[in-house]
Amino acid sequence: MNQFFSFDRFSLLVSKHWADNKKRYLLSVLAFAGLLITWFAFTLIIDDDADRMSLDVQLSTYFFSLFIAGTLYASQYYSELASKPKGSNFLLVPASTFEKFLCSLLYTVILFFLVLTAVFYIINFSMVTITNSIYANDATFKKAPVANIFDVTFFEFDNNYALNFLLFFFAIQSIFLLGSVYFRKYSYIKTIISGVVAWFVIAGLTFFIYKELYPKSKFGDDEPAFPSWLTMLISISLMYVVAPLFWTFTYFRLKAKQL
């Protein structure tokens, strides 16, 4: 028997997680759809004619939803470990820690993203279609297009826009997944506070080290301007290093969990 990974055991674990949580998940999807409809309806009322269901509204709604819901979901995935009865039930299920961890990635990263994006597109497409038909005869109204969420860039260090925002989102979400294993209570708030503190420490250290290493004459009068290679390094780290690193921390934290 493979003690590290077995596809059969992993499938059982995925099915078990679904059986345990399907009521909550289905209600959450319905609540999300309802909130989206309410929000878009609200923007139709308050926006000027030309801005109704504009690309900005659609994209900001999508990314706001993705980041808030994604981090909230990740920060509560391992919340059962905060309770001894629920946590014991979780840890004693006959599957390896790696399988349990992989199940968390499947739900919080892949399935969450697919479901959120699908629900968003269904509601968004419907709202754009309805808006365009309602205001078709309004002279000041510009027909709203359906936003392409893959055609957005956060960091312009390469041309792979579709992957850019996803990788950045996974990086942020991975920190919240670790927070859900690490903190017993208020994991969302504690992760935000820890993340902000860590960010200031790292950014401050980078700033001072760089300032000390290189002569001031190379920079502006007041503060050093980071060269392109350093911003590139930070971008690449955010895209490709942060998520795998925090997932690894999560796995080892899960392995060492005691209740």
Partner: protein
């Protein structure tokens, strides 16, 4: 089957065990007795791999519990004192949880549930604490794991259910299985266990088979004051005394776990000498 060597365990700075060594074999039902907070649950949680020893080692079926490998987990089941069951109907629970245990027997589960008088189509969340506990006990027994750990299994069960529990457990006993039941409600385990282990302050105060206990000790009622004075432990009742004394005629009698426990706690040294001789 379970080998504990020189186990030390502490909650932060509060030590629970220091150098504890103990063996549990297949084919036995062990009664782990002790006061509240003496480390019974901590010992079971260490065996189950939910807590890790600070020093020493535990081996269960050849596995190190701290690694929580699937091969270990599918042959060990713990019924914790505080437990959680998902908000799903019993058939769904069985459909999604039982495949993790290769020796799970659905017919056995059905029989236990029927004996516990629980309707099979119930939803777990609508059940009382006692009913949920009975479902968990039935599930645990039906897994047919080699190591079954039960922490205060009769807590929350009514008088009838406690009887049902004893009956079901007696039927379920298997020579390949090692069952460890931790409790402070010692009366609930009478006629079930075949080895008594008493823990106090993180140490093994007493560890003997029921056969040896009944051969060497006598639990009886006496009117004779001299008898009571000579006994290792005596407790006055309305008409006379209930005593724990040396079994001089060698005939095996009935064990009174509550009396034994009190005798060990109050006159442990005297009784230990009886078993050393």
């Amino acid at each position: 089957m379970i080998s504990i060597n020189n186990l030390s365990f502490a909650y932060r700075k509060k030590p629970v065990f220091n150098g504890l060594s103990l063996q549990f074999q297949a084919g036995h039902v062990y009664g782990l007795l002790g006061k509240n907070g003496t480390g019974k649950s901590s010992l079971l949680r260490n065996i189950a791999g939910l807590l890790f020893p600070k020093k020493g080692s535990i081996r269960v079926n050849g596995f190190n519990p701290t690694e929580r490998l699937p091969g270990f987990l599918q042959d060990v089941f713990m019924v914790p004192e505080e437990f959680h069951l998902p908000d799903i109907p019993i058939p769904t629970f069985i459909a999604y949880y039982s495949p993790f245990y290769p020796h799970f027997n659905k017919d056995q589960f059905g029989n236990y549930i029927t004996a516990f008088e629980i309707p099979l189509d119930s939803t777990l969340q609508n059940m009382s604490y006692g009913q949920k506990k009975k479902v968990l006990i039935a599930f645990a027994l039906a897994t047919n794991v080699r190591v079954l750990l039960m922490d205060e299994p009769t807590n929350g069960l009514d008088i009838i259910s406690k009887g049902q529990f004893r009956k079901i457990l007696a039927q379920a006993l298997d020579e390949q299985q090692c069952i460890i039941i931790s409790t402070h409600q010692v009366k609930d385990l009478e006629n079930l266990i075949d080895r008594v282990t008493i823990i106090d302050d993180g140490k093994i105060l007493f560890d003997q088979t029921v056969e040896d206990i009944t051969r060497k000790l006598s639990f009886r009622f006496t009117y004779d004051a001299d008898d009571a004075a000579r006994a290792y432990y005596s407790e006055s009742s309305l008409r006379g005394n209930i005593i724990v004394s040396a079994n001089e005629d060698g005939e095996e009698g009935k064990i009174d776990l509550e009396l034994l426990y009190k005798a060990i706690v109050t006159s442990g040294d005297k009784i230990t000498k009886v078993f050393q001789s």
